[in-house]
């Protein structure tokens, strides 16, 4: 028996890996026990199930996305710091090569798919229905499924760390390296299944929000009266719908190679690894725009609100968003200029890539013109927005340098690239999502996040960012390649790397300040009693914070862009308050435990595929089909909120 136990521990729990894993195991165990104990002690299990796990309310789903994104930012950031620690000085042995490989793989994968994606989905969920005057998304039940698929996909990737082993072929997972012959063990399978499961959820979210925006807008809100954040979501959804199927196929085929033994991307028996790389980037490039475009939407809202001006060049902003979503589809080969496609192909993709700079530039100028002569208030969302501008401009400029195909032969896969994409991903996506989080936080929770702690976080993070990544441009020119776990002293890279690591730690401190800020503000944050703490312009600010679960007691009829602002200017805000005689019964979707269960079943099937436990995999998939059929036979899935209850809630909020 002990022998069998020993073997189990070595195969699945990676016991032989040493103290790092033991400590993690113990910590994870303690955290889990802690959570279970707390929930039991405070008798919160029922509450958890009723209010959260079974919810189909877009606002709560949004909050769950937000929490998940912040947790994943912590995990991804910890990975980043581990790597920077290893690289602080030449010839370090803090991590060995294998661990370093695993860490950059999980870092990249988590940051893009399990931090950036849920963060944008958090804002989609929280903001879009409120901005367009809807009571929920088009398909609330599907929305819950999307969340739980994301959640269990993320869980699958994260448990690989302590159960079976992490993936280690990079977040791009190129074959033939990621094929079974070169990368045995379950790690790569974890990557493939985690992304596949959460990817299905993302496609569903794309469809859901596109239909929501096209069909659920309040009367009078024509497309050209829509707030720009909603426009950015529309643009992102179009990209999701067009891009994600390519990822689904790339992952599925690689999985077949690894699990069934086919030859899509192997070197032997006629496989072609380049096919994977093409499919991956046909998704991958639009993906980086999928995560940055909603950030653009946030900046548009924030700039207009805090400069107290309407956005400059609304129409050109919309045109820019849409052209970005089209062009982003024709640039994917810039990720492998060096693979020998020939000058004609490279030229096409180089020119297309540079062309994306045009609509992006239009947007930057529009934000600047909006700020010009505005009465700017330097609140936290505005600070992050202002910091975004120079950061993204430099990142964009180095991007155009990388787009020069012949020159890319020098920069390719060097630290120049690392610096470039962190600059656009952090400066664009992370800054944008943080700005959005600060901006809509009062709407979600009814209180503001503390300004003072937020400013500390801001300055640590920003200064840290430049200290960390500017030296990396130079390191790239000096020949340092990405994904190297250490380097010899005589290369002369030591000083710059050390500086870079200091910067990374400064950013880490910034993150700690954000955590402190959230904890502090829960208790002491300024309460939002009006529902309109920033003097906002769009419909969501006409509602109380937090918003009642049916959102609008009476759906407003919109007559202008920035409708709420118009009402305030003209002193007509009372018009939007519900009148008792207008309140009708509201018809809402019922909560359901099935989306959660479906996530669990996908997770079970995923585990089955990861370890080639076929019975488990088949059982999981069968379970999924059964839950889908159960849903098909369900007719009684909606209920009414009666006018009396609505009146009660509204008058308690002082709105009747």
């Amino acid at each position: 028996m002990p022998d069998a136990l020993r073997q189990f521990a070595d195969t699945y729990l990676m016991w032989q890996e040493g103290p790092m894993i033991w400590i993690s195991d113990v910590l994870i165990l303690l955290t889990s026990i802690g959570i279970v104990a707390t929930l039991t002690y405070f008798k919160k299990w029922k509450w958890l199930w009723r209010e959260w796990l079974t919810t189909v309310d877009h606002k709560k789903i949004g909050i769950m996305y937000l929490i998940a994104a912040l947790l994943m930012m912590f995990r991804g950031g910890a990975d980043g710091l581990l790597m920077r620690t290893q690289l602080a000085a030449p010839g370090m042995h803090f991590l060995d090569a294998e661990h370093y490989d695993q860490i950059f793989t999980t870092h990249g994968t988590i940051m893009i798919l399990f931090m950036a994606m849920p963060f944008i989905f958090a804002l989609f969920n929280i903001v879009v229905p409120l901005q367009i005057g809807a009571r929920d998304v088009a398909f609330p039940y599907l929305n819950a499924i999307s969340f739980w698929l994301f959640f269990f996909g993320a869980l699958l990737l994260n448990i690989s760390f302590v159960f079976g082993g992490s993936p280690d072929a990079g977040w791009t997972s190129y074959p033939p390296l990621s094929e079974l012959g070169f990368d045995n063990g379950p790690g790569e399978n974890f990557y493939l299944l985690a992304l596949q499961i959460s990817g299905i959820g993302s496609i569903a979210t794309g469809i859901n929000f596109l239909v929501t925006i096209l069909r659920m807008r309040a009367p009078g809100m024509t497309l050209m009266k829509m707030p720009l954040f909603t426009w950015s979501v529309l643009s992102a959804c179009i990209m999701i719908i067009f891009a994600f199927p390519a990822l689904t196929v790339a992952l599925a085929l690689l999985m077949l190679d690894r699990i069934v033994g086919t030859h899509f991307f192997t070197i032997l028996q006629g496989g072609n690894p380049m096919m994977f790389i093409n499919l991956f980037w046909i998704w991958g490039h639009p993906e980086v725009y999928i995560v940055v475009v909603p950030a653009f939407g946030v900046f548009s809202e924030v700039v207009a609100t805090f400069a107290r001006k309407r956005i400059f060049g609304y129409t050109s902003m919309v045109a820019a968003l849409l052209s970005i979503s089209v062009i982003s589809y024709f640039v994917w080969a810039h990720h492998f200029f060096t693979m020998g496609a020939g000058a004609d192909v490279n030229t096409f993709f180089a020119v297309a890539t540079m062309a994306v700079g045009i609509p992006t530039g239009v947007k930057v100028f529009n934000w600047l013109f909006t700020m010009y002569r505005g009465r700017i208030r330097m609140t936290l969302p505005m600070l992050w927005t202002i910091a975004f501008v120079p950061c993204f401009v430099i990142g964009g400029a180095t991007g155009v340098m990388l787009a020069v195909a012949p020159a890319d032969y020098q920069y390719h896969n060097s630290y120049f690239l690392i610096a470039h994409f962190h600059q656009v991903l952090i400066g664009g996506v992370v800054f944008g999502m943080l700005a959005g989080m600060y901006y809509w936080w009062p709407k979600m929770f009814g209180f503001k996040l503390d300004e003072r702690l937020g400013r500390w976080a801001f300055w640590f993070f920003n200064i840290g960012f430049y200290v960390c990544f500017m030296p990396q441009y130079a390191l790239g020119f000096m020949g340092m390649q990405r994904r190297m776990y250490t380097y010899p002293a005589d290369m002369g890279w030591g000083t710059l790397n050390f500086v870079s690591t200091i910067g990374a730690y400064l950013m880490g401190i910034g993150f700690i300040f954000i955590v402190a800020q959230v904890l502090y503000s829960i208790k002491y944050g300024e309460r939002d009693l009006t529902g309109d703490p920033w003097d906002g312009r769009t419909l969501e600010w006409s509602l109380p914070s937090p918003v009642p679960h049916y959102n609008f007691a009476v759906i407003p009829t919109v007559t202008s862009r920035d409708y709420w602002w118009t009402l305030k200017e003209e002193g007509r805000t009372d018009e939007i308050k519900p009148k008792p005689e207008d309140i009708q019964p509201i018809h809402m979707p019922k909560n359901s435990g099935r989306p959660f269960l479906m996530g669990v079943l996908f997770f079970v099937a995923g585990l089955g595929f990861v370890f080639n436990w076929h019975v488990l995999a088949v059982l999981g998939l069968l379970g999924v089909v059964v839950t889908m059929l159960r849903r098909s036979f369900e007719y009684d899935d909606e209920y009414y909120i009666q006018p009396e209850e609505i009146q009660h809630v509204e008058s308690a909020l002082g709105r009747l």
Partner: protein, 214 residues
Amino acid sequence: MAVVEKALRDAHGHLSGADPAKPLEYQDPNQSLRILGFWLFLATDMLLFGCLFATYLVLRTHTDGGPTAHELFDIPGFTAETFILLTSSFTGGLATLAMRNRNRKQVLAWLTVTILLGLAFVGLEAQEFYKDVLEGATMQRSAFLSAFFTLVGTHGSHVSLGIVWMFSILLQVAKRGLTQVTARKVFIVNLYWHFLDVVWVFIFTVVYLFGVVM
């Protein structure tokens, strides 16, 4: 009947009201919302097949000395599959038509025929695959065969799922009659079925015809 419909119409009053001038499945705005969603899903599924087709075209000639398309494909077999599937698409269309005429019996009958034809199609395809495997043409043999089995097999598993789904809708129509909800379901499952038919037309041309000709 009419009572159920009225109740449903009222129940979904929060989207701008129902419109009896439209076909049954579109009358209730909540149902037409779902139809739009389903069209978008079909777009993603189309792109998924697009990627599989691209992969097949790239790997078509990578036979690694193993069986080629020309040696493998059996003309009577795939012709029969094609006829059966095209016919089933037609009978599926008749089911939609019957639904619009509010003829529940006919809907049930045509759905049954469609399902049977679908089963025949899947049976023939399984037989074809089985024969190929016996001849040593497995998906592990070469990149061409990997791509072939994956593309055609993905279509086949879509059809199989479609059969299960259509059957579940048949049961619902039998139990509940034709309401705005079940009408929408009949409509959507047939959209799906026609879509699979379109994909098959491409498979027939790009995979089988090109395969035996070139």
